[in-house]
């Protein structure tokens, strides 16, 4: 074991402190919100400074959240968009990756270029909006789910992964009479489960957090995904979003803040719960995308 010089030891200690500090500032905001969400709203309103534990304990905030029909419908909509969207994502990205990985095909190279080009140049927000509008998708699930059907970055990652599957496997399948669909679904996809998992996660998280397309294309509130409802609650501060009948008029503001904290927790907890288990898949996904460079 090589002995570290004193300079290096000092650096080690310094490094450790910096890392600890980083971890604290990454977690603390959420911790604060969590504590606040269980706190008595009146004590919360008077409190200044950091929170190291809930002030008192109440579930009233969560009660109000659960009674809010917009939050419930928002949650439901997000789940619907997520499941539909991700299914389309995986199907189309897999098809695309398969096509682009067919080296023998005359068009594969040209197609790759045309697709990659879209990463560097686009028509802009307004033409995009008008295009979707002209297709009659406004106010439908399709406006939320189709424009992002394929992420070119993900497509490239998947293509690279498909390219690494040995040709011999595919050749022998062809000799046995397998068509391209069979090769894709029976050979390549089963061998690509890690990449598929990563794609599922990347696309899934994207759908969970999405709000902008919903905002510009959806007009009916009962179609809004969760994040859009959150936007109203957290960013626009519209109190029409929670049942004022449950709370007397003067306490409106006080309960509003409490409800805001509870909504944050309710919307973020699902991600935080699955995250530790799937973290290494996410990381691997980025690495695969990076190392292909």
């Amino acid at each position: 074991m090589i002995k570290k010089s004193s300079g290096e030891q000092v650096f080690s200690v310094f490094n450790t402190f910096v890392m600890l500090f980083l971890m604290i500032i990454c977690i603390y905001p959420l911790l604060y919100v969590a504590f606040a969400s269980f706190s008595d709203p009146f004590r919360l309103a008077e409190h200044r400074g950091l929170l190291l534990s809930p002030l008192g304990f109440t579930l009233k905030g969560y009660e109000l959240v659960q009674k809010n029909p917009n939050i419930t419908s928002g949650y439901l909509n997000t789940i619907i968009y997520l499941v539909t969207g991700t299914a389309i994502n995986l199907l189309l990205t897999s098809l695309g990756a398969y096509v682009l990985s067919r080296r023998e095909s005359y068009w594969a190279g040209k197609l790759m270029f045309l697709i990659a080009f879209t990463m560097f140049f686009s028509g802009g927000l307004i033409p995009f909006y008008l295009t979707v509008k002209d297709m009659g998708m406004v106010n439908t699930i399709w406006a939320v789910v189709l424009p992002g059907a394929i992420s070119t970055w993900n497509l490239i990652v998947m293509r690279t992964s498909f390219l690494s599957i040995p040709d011999s496997l595919q050749e022998s399948a062809k000799i046995d009479g397998a068509g391209d669909f069979t090769i894709l679904f029976k050979i390549i996809l089963p061998l690509s489960l890690p990449v598929l998992t990563v794609m599922l996660l990347f696309y899934g998280v994207g759908h969970w957090n999405a709000w902008f397309h919903a905002m510009i294309f959806l007009r009916k509130r009962d179609m809004y995904p969760l994040q859009l409802i959150l936007k109203e609650i957290l960013v626009e501060n519209t109190s029409s979003n929670f049942s004022v009948s449950d709370v007397s008029r003067e306490n409106d503001d006080i309960y509003r803040t409490l409800v805001q904290y509870c909504t944050i927790i309710v919307a973020t907890v699902p991600i935080l719960l699955i995250y530790p288990f799937l973290q290494r898949y996410f990381v691997k996904g980025v690495m695969v995308g990076a190392l292909k460079e």
């Binding site: 090589i2 450790t16 950091l50 005359y106 140049f121 927000l125 033409p127």
Partner: protein
């Protein structure tokens, strides 16, 4: 050639159809639609029926009183993100690389990745709450002797808040790519450096950083292509009329003029201007990289 190709690869062509359709409809059709930047577009007449007006919108934009403000804001925010936000993940990766306790290292990584997964809406909600006059940050300010104030209506603070929270959110996740690159550096190089008498710092300078330089350069080039493409979702969530002076950027302007005011033609022109500049910057930075290093995008 085509007919023979088609016959053999019928299935592949079939598979390609939805994919090609997607790119045609959602990427290339809008590119064509950008043509309304040169027309006096009215939805009733459609693209073909609307008359040409050439560069009128562009002239209007360039000579407007807000042109320089918007351009300046876009450029400055992008620049600050580049100056502070681009190196942050690199520095983090380098520091993580020096941690010897693998359990600690993995813990730090797991924790610092978390902000990346929190939705932008929630993050902006957090920002707005913490910077409020009675929020956590102001408590700190008061504690240190300052005067609490609503930080989000202060135009002078907008860029700082925007960039620093961006670093908070992206630093951990952004370091993954660099950690991957770091793990790809040949360990022999370090041994050779040690034998040559190089201490830790010299090793970092002469082995580590050159080792990840290709990755850094590629990411920098890609970043250049987004120079004027400041992430407007976050700005829309955070800005307000009181901070337009420093917060309004090209993309938020396009959004307001195009989608809120329905001034389609004008907003498209501004958007097209944005896309073209970004594209030019991308080509330019790739050219430079080609000339001075072996790394390039194409």
């Amino acid at each position: 050639m085509l007919a023979k190709d088609f016959k053999r690869y019928k299935a592949v062509y079939l598979m390609a159809i939805p994919v090609v359709l997607f790119y045609l409809l959602f990427h290339y059709k809008p590119m064509y639609g950008a043509i309304i930047a040169f027309k006096n577009f009215s939805p009733a007449k459609g693209i073909w029926g609307s008359p040409w007006i050439g560069f009128k919108y562009f002239q209007e934009f360039f000579s407007s009183y807000y042109f320089w403000t918007i351009l300046r804001n876009t450029f400055l925010i992008s620049l600050y993100e580049l100056l502070w936000g681009f190196p942050a993940p690199i520095v983090l990766a380098l520091m993580l690389n020096e941690i010897t306790n693998s359990k600690f290292k993995r813990t730090v990584q797991t924790v610092t990745y978390i902000p990346h997964f929190i939705s932008l809406v929630v993050i902006c909600g957090l920002i707005l709450d913490f910077t409020a006059t009675d929020g956590v940050i102001n408590s700190l300010i008061a504690f240190l002797g300052g005067k609490p104030a609503n930080l989000m209506i202060d135009a002078g603070l907008f860029r700082t808040i925007y960039v620093s929270t961006g670093i908070w959110q992206g630093m951990g996740w952004g370091s993954i790519i660099y950690l991957a690159a770091l793990s790809g550096i040949d360990q022999e190089l370090y041994s050779a450096a040690t034998i040559d008498g190089a201490g830790k710092w010299k090793q970092v300078l002469h082995v580590t950083i050159p080792g990840i330089a290709p990755t850094i350069i590629i990411l920098l080039i890609l970043r250049m292509g987004k120079m004027l493409n400041v992430g407007f979702e976050k700005i829309i969530l955070l800005y307000n009329p009181l901070t337009y002076d420093t917060a309004d950027v090209i993309s938020t302007f396009v959004y307001r003029k195009g989608l809120l005011d329905a001034n389609y033609g004008y907003a498209s022109a501004v958007g097209l201007f944005n896309s073209v500049i970004n594209f030019a910057l991308l080509i330019f930075s790739n050219k430079i990289s080609r000339k001075y290093s072996e790394t390039r995008l194409w």
